[in-house]
């Protein structure tokens, strides 16, 4: 049979992928996730979500204690493409300029991660909310460790 293409074009730009190109990049080439054999000495760690909800994230941070700056991080995520991509994007946001001050890191909101990803489908927004929560949990954990 002759191959035919539809006359009616999609007004969604005709892209084949459900997510933006940025999401795609972070999904297929996740940035700074904790590899199996990697040794990462974390100063704080946090976990949010649950496998029951379909999304579960762990976040580890390394802190320059003298200046109160997060200088490196690692993460792991069980979840859909946007959950993986949003954690990867967050790792990029934190580390891209040689690190981020804790006060500034605490101000990262889900919307910031969304913006970085070039947007997410509405139904996926809950996924990216977890990334900043995981980071905050890791910071909290770090602060607690200082008190000990």
């Amino acid at each position: 049979m002759k191959k035919s293409s539809p006359d009616i074009k999609s007004n969604k730009g005709g892209k084949e992928w459900f997510y933006t190109e940025i999401v795609k990049k972070h999904f297929f080439e996740p940035y700074k996730f904790l590899k199996d054999k990697e040794k990462f000495k974390a100063d704080g760690e946090g976990a949010v979500g649950s496998p029951a909800c379909g999304d579960m994230m762990k976040f580890w941070i390394k802190v320059d204690k003298k200046v109160g700056k997060i200088i490196d991080c690692r993460w792991r995520t069980f979840g859909c493409a946007s959950a993986i991509a949003s954690t990867s994007a967050l790792a990029e946001m934190i580390t891209e300029k040689g690190g981020i001050k804790i006060e500034k890191a605490l101000k990262i909101r889900p919307q910031d991660i969304m913006k970085r990803l070039g947007g997410l489908p509405d139904i996926k927004v809950h996924c990216s909310v977890l990334g900043d929560q995981a980071l905050r949990a890791a910071i909290e954990n770090y602060k607690q460790s200082l008190k000990l």
Partner: protein, 390 residues
């Protein structure tokens, strides 16, 4: 890039023979079957020929075949129509926990209208518990609906046995109720649709799962079963389903059904061999992967596996990038954010339900396709497991 479509339970392409059978009815034979002239008569004759062909396969009378706008509409018409028409006789309905939403949500709607619905559980293999079903039958049960084969895990339900239990209940209680409906959309291309042998009063099939057109369905309505219509108008389809008949699609559905049914024995053998090779290949190559549903009592084209530590949607999108098209019972790919009710009903926890992958084979699936999946999938799983926090 390879193009391996393994989502035939979602929908199939239209067969060339079906398209050819439909073609004249879009342009040359465009008449309204209700018109009293020769242009209309041609369309009328065509849909009656199609109706006869469908009736022959269902082993019923032509007058017992109602054409609808699809599987969902047929399911809705069966559930809402039979319940509402017979509410004076009783307001209790029985169905299973693993039905398609077209059944379950119609039942939920009836609950708001004052009906009581019993949702019968299934065993670990996904087969309805007949003992529990038997116990659930009451003197005010007006309708039972149990799917013929499940769309997610492919398990084939004991329809004949359920029909026998219903017959015994009717005899004992000296009543014509409950009516028995089965959703046979997934079964239509592979299993016997003889309504007499099955012992059903209502049966749903549609075109889009059997290499026929989308947006066309059949509801078999046994003589004597009363239904309240969902759609009112010109009184077509014996007043049960008004609206000008979708002539090309009716022709297409009949053609697709005839072909699928005549080829099913040979095709079932071919495709189940490929499916078994796929399942064993995946289980052998991927640690901790396991099959969902009954290994034997399942549709010949259905493979549904859970792959722990990996979320289903991530797997589906990764496979997509390699030209493999699959599906998952994970919440992340649905509108509800809840994992598959079917997988939860067979006893999987949320995590395992989120980690499911459904691969449904089709007529064009080859051994090479299966080999390609078995080659590609383990690497994807390994990569996603390394990223996984579990």
């Amino acid at each position: 890039m390879k193009h391996v479509y393994l989502d035939h339970a979602a929908t199939t392409y239209l067969r060339k023979e079906v398209l050819n059978a439909m073609a004249p009815y879009f342009y040359n034979e465009y008449g309204n079957p209700s018109s009293f002239h020769s242009v209309g008569k041609k369309s009328k004759d065509a849909i009656e020929t199609a109706r006869f062909a469908v009736a022959k396969i269902l082993n019923c009378r032509s007058a017992e075949i109602i054409f609808t706008g699809g599987g969902t509409e047929s399911d809705n018409l069966a559930i809402l129509g039979a319940a509402r028409a017979n509410k004076e006789k009783g307001k209790h309905i029985i169905t299973s926990k693993i039905e398609h939403p077209a059944i379950l949500d119609a039942c939920k709607a009836l609950e708001k209208e004052g009906f009581e619905v019993s949702y019968i559980p299934v065993d670990k293999m996904g087969i309805i518990k007949l003992e529990e079903f038997k116990k659930a039958l009451r003197s005010d049960t007006v309708l039972v609906s149990i799917m013929y084969a499940n769309n997610e895990i492919g398990t084939i339900q004991p329809i004949k046995e359920a029909a026998k239990i219903i017959r015994e209940h009717r005899q004992k209680n000296k009543t014509a109720f409950p009516s028995f409906h089965t959703d046979a959309c997934q079964a239509a291309g592979a299993l016997d649709l003889d309504t007499v042998k099955l012992g059903v009063d209502l049966l749903t099939i549609n075109g889009s799962k059997i290499y026929g057109p989308k947006g066309i369905g059949v509801l078999y309505v046994k003589k004597g079963i009363n239904l309240q219509p969902l759609i009112y108008g010109g009184g077509q389809e014996q007043g049960i389903r008004s609206g000008t008949e979708n002539v090309p699609s009716i022709i297409g559905l009949a053609k697709a059904l005839e072909m699928a049914q005549s080829e099913k024995e040979k095709e079932n053998i071919r495709i189940s061999k490929l499916r078994d090779a796929l399942i064993s290949g995946i289980i052998k190559k991927i640690p901790r992967a396991f099959l969902n549903g009954d290994p034997k009592k399942r549709l010949p084209n259905n493979a549904n596996l859970s792959i722990p530590k990996v979320e289903g949607e991530a797997m589906v999108l990764y496979l997509d990038s390699k030209g493999i098209y699959a599906s998952t019972g994970s919440a992340c790919s649905s509108r509800s954010l809840k994992p598959s009710h079917v997988l939860l009903a067979i006893g999987l926890n949320d995590e395992m339900a989120h980690s499911s992958l459904r691969l449904t084979l089709g007529k064009k699936t080859t051994r090479e396709d299966i080999g390609y999946v078995i080659k590609i999938l383990p690497g994807i799983v390994e990569k996603l497991r390394e990223v996984s926090s579990l």
